[in-house]
């Protein structure tokens, strides 16, 4: 019973071991950032995509020789990892233009680590027909670059299979969210984050196998008592460690759903399975993708998706965990607070340096927020 939890923990704590092992066996491994990169392309070409994550327990003092401290601490952490050799098992990196800091990550890493496979996916800001066409061509260019790396041409049947594989993966994750919606006590938010991090660090088919084990096991645990506490939504950018969820849960809150990069934003999408594969990928990874970078309209109704998510998961409040210097998320803060408050869902803003160094103070604030809402 619950052997999967040990397995998840093992992968979470040694998240690059499997990729390094596969590299030894001759597989090509590519690291990527953010949620704009269509993973199906890699898998169809037998390349394994691994999402880069940081380590909040490692200080980033050495990175300041290359990058300024007034930038996203997560990206700085990843950059230090790259410079110090944490990602030396990778054949290279595919980086999308998801924000100013990630854009610099690409250029500076390419400069300081010459010889690696490096590819940048130009990503427009305004979502419309023309930018979707541009993004589609970017997928074409990416495919050609990866074909060169793989030494083989893309076969449509293999891309179809990869699209099905990732659709299954996203569907399995959504099922976990649904199980947690009914009874969050069945799986803590911290363990959910660990599952997601483990999943982005191993091949998609292995992740699906693990997810099926987890799902079957959770289905048997219907007798677990219902969790008591205030139901909360965790909003933010990159949350690749459970420090904040631990703090919230200690303070008496229960995070039942998230709107974060590694969470629902990556898994609330479906790639239509049809012959227009690149159109389908463009739709899922750009046109329909919700990210503060992307601009479709400029009135407050752009946050309706969040109100819908909060309603669907019967949420009573939102914890917005924002990394320092995250311009894209921070410009939205006053409007999100107002919009969600008027939707009956107050928001608590927590700004952090990625390490949760002020965890005691944060816990107090969350506790006060929970008490206020209970």
């Amino acid at each position: 019973m619950r052997n999967w939890l040990e397995e998840v923990d093992k992968i979470y704590h040694n998240r690059y071991d499997r990729a390094a092992e596969l590299k030894q066996k001759g597989k090509k491994i590519i690291g990527y950032l953010c949620s704009f990169v269509p993973l199906e392309i890699f898998t169809a070409l037998d390349i394994i995509p691994i999402r880069l994550t940081g380590n909040p327990h490692v200080p980033v003092s050495e990175v300041h020789d290359y990058l300024e401290p007034n930038a996203c601490p997560y990206v700085l952490n990843c950059f230090q990892g790259a410079i110090k050799g944490s990602f030396d098992f990778l054949d290279g990196f595919v980086i999308p233009h998801s924000c100013d800091t990630v854009q610099r990550f690409y250029g500076l890493l390419k400069f300081w680590k010459p010889g690696l496979f490096m590819h940048f996916v130009s990503t427009p800001t305004v979502v419309d027909y023309h930018s979707s066409q541009f993004f589609k061509e970017e997928i074409n260019i990416l495919t050609e670059k990866l074909e060169d790396l793989a030494g083989s041409k893309m076969e449509p049947a293999k891309l179809d299979a990869a699209i099905r594989l990732y659709n299954e993966n996203r569907s399995l994750i959504r099922e976990l969210y649904v199980l947690r919606k009914k009874n969050p006590g069945i799986l803590s938010a911290s363990n959910m984050i660990k599952i997601l991090i483990a999943g982005i660090s191993i091949p998609a088919d292995e992740f699906n196998y693990l997810l099926k084990q987890i799902k079957n096991d959770l289905n048997e645990f219907t007798s677990i008592k219902e969790a008591n506490g205030l139901r909360l939504l965790l909003y933010g950018c990159i949350i690749d460690h459970p420090l904040i969820t631990d703090v919230v849960e200690k303070a008496g809150g229960i995070i039942v759903v998230d709107d974060t990069c590694i969470g629902t934003r990556s898994y609330w999408r479906h790639v239509p399975e049809n012959e227009k594969q690149f159109d389908s990928l463009t739709q899922a990874y750009f046109t329909d993708f919700i990210c503060p970078k992307l601009i479709r309209k400029s009135d407050a109704s752009r946050f309706q998706y969040l109100a819908d998510l909060a309603k669907e998961f019967n949420v009573q409040g939102i914890i917005a965990y924002l990394l320092n210097y995250c311009d894209l998320h921070k410009f939205d803060v006053p409007d999100i607070k107002d919009y969600m408050s008027s939707a009956g869902c107050p928001v608590l803003i927590i700004e952090d340096d990625y390490t949760m160094s002020a965890s005691a103070a944060t816990q107090n604030r969350v506790q006060a927020f929970v008490e206020m809402l209970e």
Binding site: L67, K110, D327, F331
Partner: protein, 435 residues
């Protein structure tokens, strides 16, 4: 409005042309305000939106970005930024945008132009025009204006894409990929303006304005070439005033006349060896946006025998020749060729207006620089991000002393006068001892 830190000073400038900029600004703000009062159309724009096009539609323009510098220079920015911060906008965010967001809030709360607003303020806009070029806050800040304060005001975001570092810009397929998208952005802007104003674009007039832009760029380049002279005929505090026509009056005859006058004046100073100070001991390169609330810091350098003879921010590159007979193609070609210049030097810090480290190294040699001052602007990622990398490259390639100052472009709360002056004093003393 609070006068803020009284140790902060405006600059005393050396050239008559730089001194005339304030008058240009005052007229320009007055023109905008007059248009607003008369109910004529006013667009709020960000730098990078092509004035060559906007001006042809007869719209008055206000620039929230420039207003950030104007408020900072008049010690009024803190007032507006505190309003924005009380709304929930983080201190991390671009101080120009925070200044403008606070101004928007007060514009609404006061039911008109806030009392004592510097330069008479910015009138309520009839449209918002921005771009996604160079940094995220350009699009996100305007989105916030539109969501929170200027609800329903039509907005257009020019979303031109820049080529990434190392891409083969000579590959015709790559060029066509970017051409198709970026041309569409220009067309989209024109369609937007035609819809808002009911006027049609005059393409012949656009060709003329583009000719003016290219002429302006040639003149600016001539000025920078003249600035290589010893003693320096024109310091950074003058150049930071003279960016106004470059950034906000592109394509106009007035901008060409301005830089023609500046070139003539700097040429005369160079010929007659008229320096910024009588005894120029040290030549400094300034990297980064200046502290607009305290441009007087450059005069402080001069009291110590040092002149900031060149700067990286707002540098436009070397002049290019482009056939403007098809103005739409020319718009793209100008931007493409500028990106190519950056790629050729090394675009590891992007091709979107940041200065390549290789160019900084070239400046150090060409301008006979004794020391480099990096101004790390805490609320700006776009320009500040990459300074550490550039400094690292300098240390590896040149024996040049480097000083990092940490502050902000429009937020004087980040400025520690005694601390910064002490650093500058020690830095200059060290250079002089080693010289």
């Amino acid at each position: 409005m609070s006068m803020g830190n009284i140790s902060l000073k405006k600059a005393v400038r050396s050239t008559n042309t730089a001194q005339s900029v304030n008058e240009i600004l005052m007229k320009w703000y007055a023109k905008s305000m007059q248009a607003g009062m008369e109910g004529r159309q006013v667009a709020w724009c960000m730098v990078g939106v092509p004035m060559e096009i906007i001006n042809l539609f007869g719209i008055a323009v206000s620039w929230p970005e420039n207003y950030g510098t104007a408020c900072a220079a008049r010690q009024a920015a803190v007032h507006f930024m505190e309003i924005a911060e009380s709304e929930g906008y983080s201190k991390d965010l671009c101080s120009y945008e925070r200044n403008a967001l606070g101004y928007c809030k007060e514009l609404i709360d006061a039911g008109g132009i806030p009392e004592g607003a510097p330069q008479g303020g910015m009138p309520w806009p009839s449209m918002l025009i921005t771009n996604s070029y160079l940094c995220d806050p350009r699009s996100k800040g305007f989105q916030a204006f539109n969501t929170r304060y200027m609800k329903g005001i039509p907005m257009y975001i020019m979303d031109c894409q820049a080529t990434p570092f190392g891409v083969n810009m000579n590959d015709p397929r790559i060029k066509e990929h970017y051409r198709k998208h970026n041309m569409q952005q220009y067309k989209g802007l024109i369609e937007f303006l035609e819809k808002q104003t009911g006027k049609k674009l005059d393409e012949a007039a656009l060709s003329v304005t583009l000719k003016n832009t290219l002429a302006m760029q040639r003149l600016i380049h001539e000025v920078h070439e003249l600035r290589k002279a010893v003693p320096s005929p024109m310091p950074s505090e003058d150049q930071f005033a003279c960016i106004v026509p470059q950034l906000y009056m592109g394509g106009s005859e007035d901008a060409v006349s301005f830089y023609s006058a500046l070139r003539d004046e700097v040429q005369m100073r160079e010929k007659n060896k008229v320096g910024v100070i009588p005894d120029e001991k040290l030549r400094i390169l300034w990297v980064g946006i200046p502290p607009w609330f305290n441009i007087g810091i450059f005069n402080y350098l001069e009291t110590l025998g040092a002149v900031s003879v060149m700067e990286t921010t707002y540098y436009m590159g070397t002049p290019i020749e482009v056939d403007v007979s098809d103005p739409m193609e020319a718009l793209f070609e100008i931007s493409w060729r500028k990106m190519m210049q950056t790629q050729e030097l090394g675009a590891e810090l992007t091709t979107e207006g940041t200065i390549p480290a290789a160019l900084v190294i070239k400046f150090i040699r060409d301008y006979r620089i004794d020391g480099v001052i990096f101004h790390r602007v805490l609320s700006c990622r776009a320009i500040s991000f990459g300074q550490a990398h550039t400094a690292r490259r300098l240390r590896e390639e040149l024996p040049i002393p480097i000083l990092f100052l940490e502050s902000d472009m429009a937020d004087p709360r980040a400025w520690s006068d005694a601390y910064i002056k002490n650093h500058i004093y020690n830095f200059l003393e060290t250079i002089e001892m080693k010289k």
